[in-house]
């Protein structure tokens, strides 16, 4: 009995080790999540504005017939990485003149309002997804996630996790270039 018990820690460690080895696969990127949405029309959704905020709400109709590609960012005030990402998205709006829409995921309106008041509000429109229903439509796996949507409403790119750090920003900008939202060759 004691002999078997003594092997349990080793067995557990071996299982952990197996998962770690799998996790280190160089092709695996914790932020790269395949999405069935890519090259598909953006899902149907219609979200009201955040209560008490002047920024208008967001629906599928706002994602079609735009002049160029737009960014749709899913965020929440309770999400710490969103805070880190916020400044980078703001810069893209201010410096690169990109259009940014937001989906405020499962967030209390007063918390979201406070958060935006504190960090600034770079979003053109924000839909308040209190129930998480639109999140399901978009196939969210967590917050934050950021999508690039083409002028005709087609989802072109999905980024899971915060767009933070040189590598992530470079990948995101490259996707923006491919979508035609940024002129080519600016990727620094």
């Amino acid at each position: 009995m004691g002999r078997i018990l003594a092997f349990i820690p080793l067995a557990i460690a071996a299982v952990f080790g197996g998962f770690f080895l799998w996790g280190l696969n160089p092709d695996r990127d914790p932020n790269n999540i395949p999405s069935v949405l890519i090259s598909q029309p953006a899902p149907q959704f219609d979200l009201a504005a955040i209560e008490g905020l002047e920024t208008p709400g967001l629906s599928r109709a706002d994602l079609v017939d735009n002049a160029g590609p737009v960014i749709v960012n899913v965020f929440a005030s309770w999400c710490v990485p969103c805070r880190a990402e916020h400044g980078i998205l703001t810069q893209m709006v201010e410096k690169d003149g990109l259009r940014l829409f937001g989906i405020n995921y499962k967030d209390k309106p007063e918390d979201a309002t406070k958060w935006l008041a504190e960090l600034g509000n770079p979003y053109e429109r924000i839909g308040s997804d209190l129930s998480g229903r639109a999140g399901i439509e978009w196939g969210l796996s967590g917050v934050p996630e950021t999508f690039i949507v083409g002028p005709d409403g087609t989802v072109l790119f999905r980024y899971v996790g915060p767009v933070v750090g040189d590598e992530a920003i470079a990948r995101f900008r490259e996707a923006l270039e491919q979508a035609g939202a940024l002129p080519r060759g600016q990727n620094g």
């Binding site: 770690f20 914790p30 309770w78 990485p81 008041a117 504190e118 796996s141």
Partner: protein
């Protein structure tokens, strides 16, 4: 070329330009010594060759010397802003204040790894220096095991993460350290955290050496306990400092986020706390032996796991180092050898260990067993929550999710609350067999006080969650039960004060230490609860001249001015705080912009008192339309009792220190009983 005083103190007669190569070479020499130390002493212990065993002493000193030379060489490169060194280019800037140039030495992956290795060798040398009471063979084996870890980390550094790599042509200035990291709290945070993390390495080495020797007894536990305590104290201080840093510097208005990187420092703490208590049973009652050994192995394994998670990019976190799969693979190999090897050794040897002293279900031993089981469960919860995203992804073939504070709060807190209850009773229980009804009778008054205290808070505060009040009641319970136990021991109020004084000074310091640390946890709990349950927050657009009232304070916003610092400029808000019309203080929150690193940081201004913190931060207006012209975004928080967290943490560390200074651990070398008598359970 003869060196000037500035850097020539470290390596005399070497050209300034050569210092990085000297550092690199010193690392190679340290590796050579570590290789010798991993083989010679342990062979000596087997063959009873005293000379071979004694060689460990000198190779341990040599290792620490050479790694120190390497560390100082890197520090010199940072201090003199030597931009031919890649690591300096990536993490420093000539305009950075001197303190942060020095701290930049351990701000990067390579530099922090060098610090890791330095502390590893320091602990090895400390055992060689202060371990004169430890039997020669055990010491030799322990130092050999410690050298195996050294070899692992030195090769890791030399082969994948050389901190002395050069760049050519050298750039004219560096990219600067992440401004968030430019803070006094952070300059001190990694060294303390690493002293804790890595300090457990020596306990691990002791455990593996004991398994190889096939012998664990009360004397072994007594030799190991001071090292465990020292590491635990540093880890406690390191975690508290990191949390303090997040709270004061990052301006996030919180002190714990259940981020993977926070969790991996918390798990060794939980496990180390269990080990600390389990080792007491091994020392006093010769029981829990295999359990203590297992905890020693697991505590350091969790430290290694932390290093792996932070540096491999396995999980997403806000504060991970630059990601490199090759490095990840190397550390995983290191983990497989050290954790796998030690656990295999455990599986082989542990069943051969003699079971120790017997005890009844109600006894000090049983109480400490409960402590161990709860702490281990809590560690399991944190481990599971931290790694669940990875498991889920692997099992579902690529689907991802994240685990956040709601899980940890819901799973961790209910596990820990029974521990707090048990902590109140535990010290009253006697060894072997205790009288629970008697103990509970003595604690009736404490329970009554805890209920009354909670009711008083319920009356004063306006509402709050039930879990908050339950936690509060347990915090009161723990604090008063701890104080009650102490007053009973010294018979305070039961006779003349002089008698109590004499009893107090005769009480071992470890007993005072326990009282202080247990009370410290209760005090910290008041902080956790107060600042979580009764926090108030206001965020608003304000024009100069605006008045805000929060938590009973009146705050007036006077305006903003532009100020300059050495490598940044800032918008500084001016706030006047008063209460009931009486002026209290001025607050100056800043929004700093670092032009070189191209980033901004929030410097919050805080009025800190025991009752709570008034915390203000400022940001630029959200958008420039007519309604917000000339307005600023002001965020004001009132966090009641938050300073109790740091006071409680300090009490934990001091309690550990008091216990560490106990006579029993310092002098009077515990003698190992002859092998025959050691087999007989005590009494």
């Amino acid at each position: 070329m003869v060196r000037t005083a500035q850097s020539g103190e470290f390596i005399e007669g070497v050209d300034d330009q050569m210092t990085p190569e000297v550092g690199h070479f010193a690392l190679a020499l340290a590796l050579a010594l570590a290789l010798v130390q991993s083989v010679l002493p342990i062979l000596g212990a087997k063959r009873r060759n005293i000379l071979w065993m004694q060689s460990a002493r000198w190779s341990a000193f040599g290792q620490v010397l050479f790694v120190t030379v390497a560390f100082l060489a890197l520090m010199q490169a940072f201090i003199t802003s030597d931009f031919t060194v890649k690591n300096v280019v990536e993490n420093s800037n000539s305009l950075k204040p001197m303190l942060y140039k020095v701290a930049g030495t351990w701000g990067s992956h390579e530099g922090s790894l060098l610090l890791w290795t330095l502390i590893l060798t320091v602990f090895g040398a400390a055992v060689a220096l202060f371990g004169s009471n430890i039997p020669q063979a055990l010491k030799a084996r322990t130092l050999s095991v410690q050298a195996w870890i050294s070899v692992g980390f030195l090769t890791f550094m030399l082969f994948t993460s050389n901190p002395f790599d050069r760049v050519f042509p050298p750039p004219s200035d560096g990219q600067d350290l992440n401004p968030l990291l430019q803070d006094v709290g952070l300059a001190m945070h990694p060294p303390l955290l690493y002293f804790g993390y890595v300090g457990f390495s020596i306990v691990f080495s002791f455990a593996v050496a004991a398994l190889i020797e096939g012998r664990v007894d009360a004397a072994w536990a007594r030799w190991v306990r001071p090292w465990t305590l020292a590491a635990w104290m540093s880890l406690t201080a390191g975690i508290a400092l990191g949390s303090w840093w997040a709270y004061y510097e990052l301006g996030w208005g919180g002190w714990w986020f259940w981020d993977p990187v926070e969790n991996v420092s918390f798990m060794p703490w939980l496990m180390g706390t269990a080990l600390l208590h389990s080792a007491i049973v091994t020392e006093k009652r010769d029981a829990f032996k295999s359990w203590t050994i297992l905890l020693a192995i697991l505590t350091f394994s969790l430290s290694l796991l932390g290093t792996f998670v932070v540096r491999s990019g396995l999980l997403t976190s806000v504060h991970a180092f630059a990601v490199d799969p090759e490095r990840g693979l190397y550390i995983l190999g290191l983990l497989a050898v050290s954790i796998g090897g030690s656990l295999a050794l455990f599986a082989w040897r542990a069943p051969m260990m003699e079971p120790g002293g017997l005890f009844k279900p109600i006894s000090r031993e049983a109480g400490l067993l409960v402590n161990n089981l709860i702490l281990t469960t809590a560690t399991g919860v944190v481990l599971f929550g931290t790694l669940y995203p990875l498991f889920y992804e692997a099992m579902t073939g690529g689907e991802k999710l994240s685990v956040g504070p709601p899980f940890f709060n819901a799973a961790f807190i209910p596990v820990m609350l029974p521990l707090v209850f048990a902590m109140g009773c535990g010290p009253f229980l006697s060894w072997k067999r205790a009288d629970l009804p008697g103990v509970l009778q003595r604690l009736r008054f404490v329970a009554l006080l805890a209920v009354l205290g909670t009711l008083a808070v319920w009356y004063l505060a306006e509402g709050g969650p039930v879990l908050g009040y339950l936690s509060l009641m347990l915090a009161f319970w723990l604090f008063m039960a701890t104080v009650r136990e102490w007053t009973m021991r010294i018979k305070l109020f039961e006779g003349p004060v002089s008698t109590s004084w004499r009893r107090a000074s005769n009480l071992p310091r470890s007993a005072h230490g326990m009282t202080l640390a247990h009370a410290g946890l209760a005090v910290a709990m008041f902080g956790f609860i107060g600042s979580t349950v009764w926090k108030s927050e206001e965020i608003m657009f304000v024009q100069p001249g605006a008045d805000i009232s929060i938590g009973g304070f009146d705050v007036r916003f006077n305006g903003v001015e532009r100020v300059r610092g050495p490598n940044y400029f800032a918008d500084r808000g001016e706030l006047t705080v008063s209460r009931d019309g009486k002026y209290l203080t001025d607050l100056f929150p800043e929004r700093r912009t670092y032009p070189v690193a191209q980033s901004t940081t929030t410097e919050s201004a805080i009025r800190s008192t025991l009752a709570g913190d008034l915390y203000a931060s400022i940001a630029n207006p959200a958008s420039e339309d007519a309604s917000t012209q000339g307005a600023w975004t002001l965020r004001i928080l009132y966090e009641p009792l938050v300073n109790f967290i740091w006071i409680g943490s300090a009490m934990l560390v001091l309690g550990g220190g008091l216990s560490l200074s106990d006579r029993r651990l310092r002098v009077g070398a515990p003698r190992r009983k002859a092998a025959v008598t050691a087999r007989v359970p005590a009494e």
